[in-house]
């Protein structure tokens, strides 16, 4: 009996995320179009709703081109190694309300261990294509993902410290309940939580190679990075892996800082938790798309500077701030101490990181003759 229930759950979760992938790929194009004063896809079906299906058919029947000098085995394996771990990540997200698949005691560790496998997939894709742009993109991707894993793990440790567990389900339980009857006890509503949430969001953007950190496939210099020689369904798989990565990263942010399936108001608790979870997840995915439409890409040295001189120190300070908050009991003293520490650290880091290169003030003359 439990086998049936588990399979049912797996079915629901996989269907949901596959559907979300289709919807998100359409939504991304629609939202981008709206932000850019365009209409976006509107030919297939009502309002272009069937565009993902058309895209899927196109991808499936497209010729699979493999360069002659390419390493065929690795070229074939890379998309699979990309997608498989991302799918595994959905297994441990705490959807709540009985939909949670597995409550691993080492859930967070599982998350990072499995998601780090995608780095190898990127390498396999880049190297096996036998294309200089591909190798270049793969090297950038590996450097970027390895670097941003450091602040990502450091930030994810803060809620672990406060909740006292690596289990994501336990962490969501720790954020249940409401202060003064209305304000939810989410970690994001604490000084270290808001900083941690923002850091986690930024680092997951970088881990998923999204704008403004999409250097590995930066089309203006590297054509398409490690994806240059991919076409057809293999390319679609990479695309899917990237999206699944975004979903999983957003799910992690929801579980760690946004209270998982908790309702924002006690009044709204009749809505089942998994719906709340998915609503929060979809909102985060929307923000990711919004960011893509509005920010230019960073350069590789600026990316590394931001990581090692900005995010990593800030993540460490955040760890200390969380400890201070925890031991000061979380009242107004906590806000002053932890908040003051974080604001001070931010201002100092801001000076260091930003002042290094830019001189902001520029003078322009208007010559009359």
């Amino acid at each position: 009996m439990w086998l049936v229930i588990i399979q049912l759950k797996i079915g629901i979760i996989l269907t949901f995320f596959s559907l979300l992938f289709a919807v998100a790929s359409l939504a991304e194009r629609k939202i981008l179009a709206r932000i850019q004063n365009r209409r976006g896809p509107n030919r297939v079906g009502p309002c272009g709703l069937f565009q993902p299906i058309a895209d899927g058919i196109k991808m499936l029947i497209k010729e699979d081109v493999v360069p002659r000098k390419a390493d065929r085995a690795l070229h074939f394996l890379a998309p699979i190694v990309m997608v498989a771990p991302m799918v595994l990540l959905f297994g441990i997200l705490p959807y709540g309300g009985g939909l949670t698949l597995v409550d691993l005691e080492v859930g967070l560790l599982f998350f990072f261990a499995v998601s780090s496998v995608s780095e190898l997939a990127v390498f396999m894709a880049g190297w096996s294509s036998a294309n200089k742009y591909s190798v270049f993109g793969a090297m950038r991707a590996i450097a970027q993902m390895v670097s941003y894993e450091v602040p990502l793990v450091l930030v994810a440790i803060t809620p672990v410290m406060v909740a006292g567990s690596l289990s994501l389900v336990h962490m969501v339980e720790d954020q249940a309940g409401y202060a003064i009857g209305v304000i939810p006890n989410w970690f994001v509503l604490t000084p270290w939580g808001i900083v941690g949430f923002l850091l986690l969001f930024v680092t997951s953007l970088a881990e998923a190679n999204r704008t403004p950190f999409d250097l590995p496939e930066g089309e203006s210099e590297l054509v398409a990075g490690h994806l240059t020689e991919y076409s057809g369904f293999k390319y679609a798989l990479f695309f899917m892996g990237e999206y699944f990565g975004i979903f999983a990263g957003s799910g992690l942010a929801v579980a760690l800082f946004l209270g998982g399936g908790g309702a924002p108001l006690p009044l709204l608790q009749w809505i089942p938790p998994y719906l709340w979870f998915f609503v929060k997840l979809v909102v985060l995915v929307g923000i990711v798309i919004w960011v893509r439409a509005s920010l230019p890409r960073m350069r590789i040295d600026q990316l590394m500077d931001l990581c090692w001189k900005g995010l990593v120190p800030l993540a460490f300070v955040n760890l200390i701030a969380a400890a201070i908050w925890h031991y000061s009991g979380g009242g107004w003293q906590g806000w002053i101490l932890a908040g003051g520490l974080l604001v001070g650290a931010y201002l100092m880091l801001n000076r260091v990181v930003l002042r290094s290169r830019c001189s902001w003030e520029r003078k322009y003359y208007l010559a009359k003759s």
Binding site: E105, V106, L109, W127, A138, I142, E149, S165
Partner: protein
């Protein structure tokens, strides 16, 4: 249960064999990653959940990726290398290895204390691991922390590029 262990053990050995014998360095590194992953699976199957995932995180996610990165940096064109695969001392090396293996295998086979079966895994929840780390294993933990920091600084110092003559600096002074 034992069947699963044997399958994983076979995976580990096949992966390790491929790592040692394959000519292409990239294949070596990737089969090394597969070996690491299989080892992680073995730890999981043996009930060491935490170690299993740490193994995958550290070895597959970091060490294998680093090795691959260094292969890319050092031999971009020579990955499909020509020339002999093994060094001149190959016969001696294999002999030494076989000798070591024979010794260990003999000891394992003859030892009386190893005849017993595996006992049930001890209770290792995360809470107790954390408490142990910060109480009885505090000094090793701190020492490891210091070691990792020193290794980090050392690696950065080693890998840092000395400014090459005639690169940016002289370019700037030219203007």
């Amino acid at each position: 249960m034992n069947v699963v262990l044997f399958i994983i053990a076979a995976l580990i050995l096949v992966g390790a064999l491929a790592t040692v014998c394959v000519r292409n360095l990239v294949y070596c590194a990737l089969s090394l990653a597969a070996t690491f992953a299989a080892l992680g699976m073995l730890y999981l199957a043996l009930g060491a959940e935490f170690i299993g995932w740490v193994q995958i995180l550290v070895y597959v996610g970091a060490v294998a990726v680093l090795i691959v990165f260094v292969i890319l940096l050092t031999a971009p064109d020579r990955m499909r290398s020509v020339g002999p695969l093994f060094s001149r001392s190959r016969i001696l090396g294999v002999g030494v290895s076989l000798g070591v293996f024979g010794t260990i295998a003999y000891a394992v086979h003859k030892s009386g204390s190893l005849k017993g079966s595996l006992s049930m895994p001890a209770e290792t929840d995360m809470q107790s691991i954390g408490e142990e780390l910060l109480s009885s294993y505090l000094v090793p933990l701190e020492a490891t922390g210091v070691l990792l920091t020193v290794a980090l600084i050392g690696a950065v110092l080693f890998a840092r590029e000395e400014p090459v003559e005639g690169s940016e600096e002289s370019q700037e002074s030219k203007d």
